[in-house]
Symmetry: C2
Subunit: 258 residues, 2 copies
């Protein structure tokens, strides 16, 4: 039988932590305590859910699961300062191996929600893929049970697959966002608002996942429409950095067709 | 008073044309005739709306407005073969000036819907920005009236602004789609489906338009997290073209912060 991971301590009170706290409580689990080095953050989040809070690692409450929801570069330091022997612990990172936690306890794992979290912006947890991994099958079953209470999309994922997915997520999230930033810069040179591009952006995503992006591609690069490409480069001549991106992606799309 | 553009002839029966035909009829206008060089396409589209059809330019029906919904590179040739003196005509291109039509009639303009159209995939016309331009104010008013019956977002747009918007649209649509194509390639190297990235992609768009993309940016590049960047490049080493895109965009995001 799976271990029941009912009572949870959350370490980290940032954007991802806040969203996760809500998911934990909404799915019928108990948020026992919130830890943050900034006591005000711990307190603000804990009070929403009538949980305890602390900034003292020696003061962690007893729980069935400890979730380290900490930025990748801060996790190693935190991990070096805490022992939770015999306790079950997970981190929420897309990029770190699960044994990043192996010095803290013999029961460790990963609970990685594949999503970008923003303060104040509610997400639909049912649709967020949660990738899990654990040091033993019993703990894995427990994590699966917890994840399934939160999301309809639970994936047992190897470190190798999770890492690759994390790179793919950089393309989908960070790089796409950067393209939108370029588009906003271009729109600033017009009398038109950036917001008029939103329906196009939404349809782009819908279409790519429906048809597959290779079949969804249109535009001057894939058509080899050199006249339009030249006109676009001319229009971007006052913006050499954006023009560089335009060139690099246009070339890449042309190549992708061959 | 604005000219009433009630009776419409549509030249072109491709993806954009099919969607536009539907919008014309749904908004209470009359689709008089569909022209296409491929008579089967003209017929198939026309019969949906009980319109006439032809592949013969000398056979165009009488109408209040002729909409040339033709690929940019095919428009010039078509235009050289048809005269519609005294008639009102528009094209639907983001990239071409309105006077691309000036040899056909003295009344010409632009009716450019800022969206990507896919066969069989319904769009919400109310949200699609329609950019209009015309050779005289009376015709402009008529186009405005027609566009407003179709969409809640009607923009009088200069050629300069429309051109820039069209470049921005390449970033939002073609380039974003290409990033998704890279993400799909990366996911093929895992046991996980590409589709699990869809909620992240949707949230990326929502967040960028809510916060503005500069404020929405996260990830290893903007954090200057060289360790993760190096790990990602290593993971992409079997895919030099995707790695090049990764490097170019990572560098650009780093620079954008300065």
């Amino acid at each position: 039988m799976a271990d029941t991971l009912q009572r949870i301590v959350l370490l980290g009170a940032g954007n991802a932590g806040s969203h996760l706290a809500k998911a934990i409580v909404s799915s019928g689990h108990e948020l026992v305590q919130v830890f943050s080095r900034t006591i005000d953050h711990a307190k603000a989040l804990a009070e929403k859910y009538k949980a305890g809070f602390t900034k003292d690692l020696s003061n962690l409450a007893d729980a069935d699961l400890y979730i380290f929801c900490i930025k990748d570069d801060a996790l190693a330091e935190l991990v070096s300062m805490v022992k939770l022997e015999g306790k079950k612990i997970v981190h929420t990172s897309g990029a770190l191996p699960m044994d990043a936690l192996s010095n803290v306890s013999q029961y460790y794992g990963v609970f990685y929600p594949l999503q970008t979290f923003t303060g104040g912006l509610d997400v639909d947890w049912k649709r967020i893929p949660i990738c899990i991994e654990a040091s033993d099958t019993k703990m894995l079953a427990g994590l699966k049970y917890l994840a399934a209470a939160i999301s309809d999309s639970v994936l047992e994922t190897s470190f190798e697959d999770r890492q690759k997915m994390h790179v793919a997520a950089v393309f989908v999230n960070n790089f796409t966002n950067y393209l939108l930033q370029n588009a906003e810069e271009i729109m600033k040179q017009t009398s038109l608002p950036f917001s008029i591009l939103q329906p196009l952006a939404e349809e782009t995503i819908r279409k790519a996942f429906l048809l597959g992006p290779a079949d969804a591609q249109t535009g001057p690069a894939i058509r080899g429409d050199e006249k339009t490409i030249a006109a676009h480069e001319e229009l971007l001549s006052s913006d050499p950095e954006i023009r560089e991106i335009y060139r690099a992606l246009t070339e890449a799309i042309k190549k992708s067709q061959k």
